[in-house]
Amino acid sequence: DVKVTQSSRYLVKRTGEKVFLECVQDMDHENMFWYRQDPGLGLRLIYFSYDVKMKEKGDIPEGYSVSREKKERFSLILESASTNQTSMYLCASSPSKSTEAFFGQGTRLTVV
């Protein structure tokens, strides 16, 4: 079974804090993704990576950065958290030639 694990289920952070969301997958997948889910907006792609140390901006990268130092780990960084970044964050991975992505359980982040 593919497993995508996000380090926290729930997080509460203060405005201006630097926040790290960690994601690890155990299936040697090349592609990894970070999405956020908001009511009425669906899942929106923040960043993705198709190889170690490679990253590409998604549709809403502003205020975020990512790091992929190892194949199995993809980190999302909120440089200075703001209240409009309160959301459900979802990490996913997929093999390079596959169409199906596997998701982690999500991190519900609240910025106060």
Binding site: R9, G42, L45, G58, R108
Partner: protein, 113 residues
């Protein structure tokens, strides 16, 4: 600009009846479509998919139909069960050489006993 649209935010169906969830897309470069199901506080899980070279794909109670000329796809669940109550997301992948999923806004399905 929403390239994948699910115009019905919610749908209520009685147990045993058919559920039909709809999805429209605007980008003609999309060539593969997927449906994901999401329960609260969990990540989405893959349900069923269809390639643009087909117009129908069936898996048990779930069937996806694709109408390329109308840029429309639908998910049929027959018979619907209370455990099907969840948010359903339609997603699409383009033929641009990278497997990046573009999601719709989701439809919340409620199946009542």
């Amino acid at each position: 600009d929403q390239q994948v649209k699910q115009n019905s935010p919610s749908l209520s169906v009685q147990e045993g009846r058919i559920s039909i969830l709809n999805c429209d897309y605007t980008n003609s470069m999309f060539d593969y479509f997927l449906w994901y199901k999401k329960y609260p506080a969990e990540g989405p899980t893959f349900l069923i998919s269809i390639s643009s070279i087909k117009d129908k794909n069936e898996d048990g109670r779930f069937t996806v139909f694709l109408n390329k000329s109308a840029k429309h796809l639908s998910l049929h669940i027959v018979p619907s069960q209370p455990g099907d109550s969840a948010v359903y997301f339609c997603a699409a992948i383009g033929n641009t050489g990278f497997q990046k999923l573009v999601f719709g806004t989701g439809t919340r399905l409620l199946v009542s006993p």
